[in-house]
């Protein structure tokens, strides 16, 4: 089965949102998705985009059971390391279950690695849930290192009321 990997367009946002929800369901956190495809469009396709997204598409004759041709996506943006400089952050990587095992996930990642290298990035970072063995295995096979395990990094967050409270105490 052939497929293409290409940069997304504003018109893809509905499909991207569908896949984002699919991935959130897999991660057992579907109820946390608050974003709409309109916000995705506004934030990703202005003159100063907050993210970039590659999509994987199959021809009509191979469309999914529900009639979709957009079957995977790789969501990324550029970050900065004070140790090494420019980096690319892979926020989401997902391929619909019926299209797995064909190299689509790897192709999405390769393209993002290529884009990152063209922009002068020295590393790609991402987070994975500790129970997600298929993904942990896939990334290890690509040469990824688990920095939480080897260096002890913990991911923290200020959000909602705590962020507001902290902000309001600034004068």
């Amino acid at each position: 089965m052939n497929y293409t990997v290409r940069d997304s367009t504003p018109e893809d946002c509905k499909d991207i949102m569908r896949l984002i929800v699919d991935l959130a369901e897999y991660e057992k956190m579907a109820n946390e998705v608050k974003l709409t495809h309109k916000e995705l469009e506004a934030d990703g396709f202005s003159s100063n985009p907050f993210f970039k997204c590659l999509v994987a598409e199959v021809p009509e004759e191979f469309k999914s059971k529900e009639g979709h041709t957009l079957v995977g996506y790789g969501f990324y943006f550029f970050t900065y390391s004070t140790f090494k400089g420019r980096a690319v952050y892979l926020e989401d990587l997902y391929v619909m279950p019926e299209f797995r095992g064909k190299g689509i996930g790897k192709a999405l990642m390769s393209h993002i690695a290529q884009i990152g290298r063209a922009r002068g990035c020295v590393r790609m970072q991402f987070t994975v849930l500790d129970w997600n063995k298929p993904s942990l295995d896939f990334y290890s096979s690509q040469g990824a290192l688990n920095l939480t395990a080897t260096e002890g990094w913990q991911l923290l967050r200020f959000e909602g009321d705590h962020l507001e409270k902290l902000a309001q105490s600034a004068n």
């Binding site: 984002i20 970050t79 400089g85 420019r86 990152g116 849930l129 913990q154 991911l155 967050r157």
Partner: protein
């Protein structure tokens, strides 16, 4: 000693920023990993599409450090994106020189950042902390931060340059 100002970093600050980056790296026992140069900081932070934003804490001349520095603290951040909720502020580095701690500088910087996050309509501020760094973890938790590695099981991964090159050349 109590007077200091917080201001946006300027191109002339890159030498001080690099000095503080190296001090923080030394504290994290990773000093030899800093390969960033002043030129990188200049190119990457002060162009048309900066990779990072930076605020610095400065004391008056009469309160300069034992080595004659007046820029005594900094925070480096950039905007990231969560496909579930939208824009986030990511705090990459945050540091105050040892001789200037205990005067509320760190607190002030964090409040300033959370204010920036709220003003730019970010849903959350994220950052990573080394699990052995108890003083910092306590500092953040006292202010309402949640540890997503322990609460949700997120693990930070990295694919570095040699594997990025390998991946981007495979098709």
């Amino acid at each position: 000693m109590a007077s200091f100002i917080l201001r946006k970093a300027e191109p002339k600050d890159v030498s001080d920023i690099l000095r503080l980056i190296k001090e923080l790296a030394k504290f994290e026992e990773m000093e030899d990993q800093v390969i960033l140069t002043e030129k990188d900081l200049l190119d990457d932070g002060f162009g048309e599409h900066p990779f990072y934003h930076c605020v610095v804490a400065e004391v008056p001349n009469e309160q300069q450090s034992s080595e004659g520095h007046t820029v005594v603290g900094f925070a480096m951040y950039y905007f990231t994106y969560d496909p579930w909720i939208g824009k986030l502020l990511y705090l990459e580095d945050f540091y105050v020189m040892k001789e200037y701690r205990g005067y509320g500088m760190g607190s002030k910087i964090l409040k300033h950042l959370s204010n920036t996050a709220v003003k730019t309509r970010c849903s959350s501020m994220h950052f990573i902390v080394a699990e052995w760094n108890k003083p910092s973890i306590e500092f953040y938790k006292r202010r309402g931060a949640s540890d997503l590695s322990s609460e949700e099981g997120w693990r930070l991964f990295e694919i570095d340059k040699q594997y990025l090159v390998k991946m981007s050349s495979e098709e």
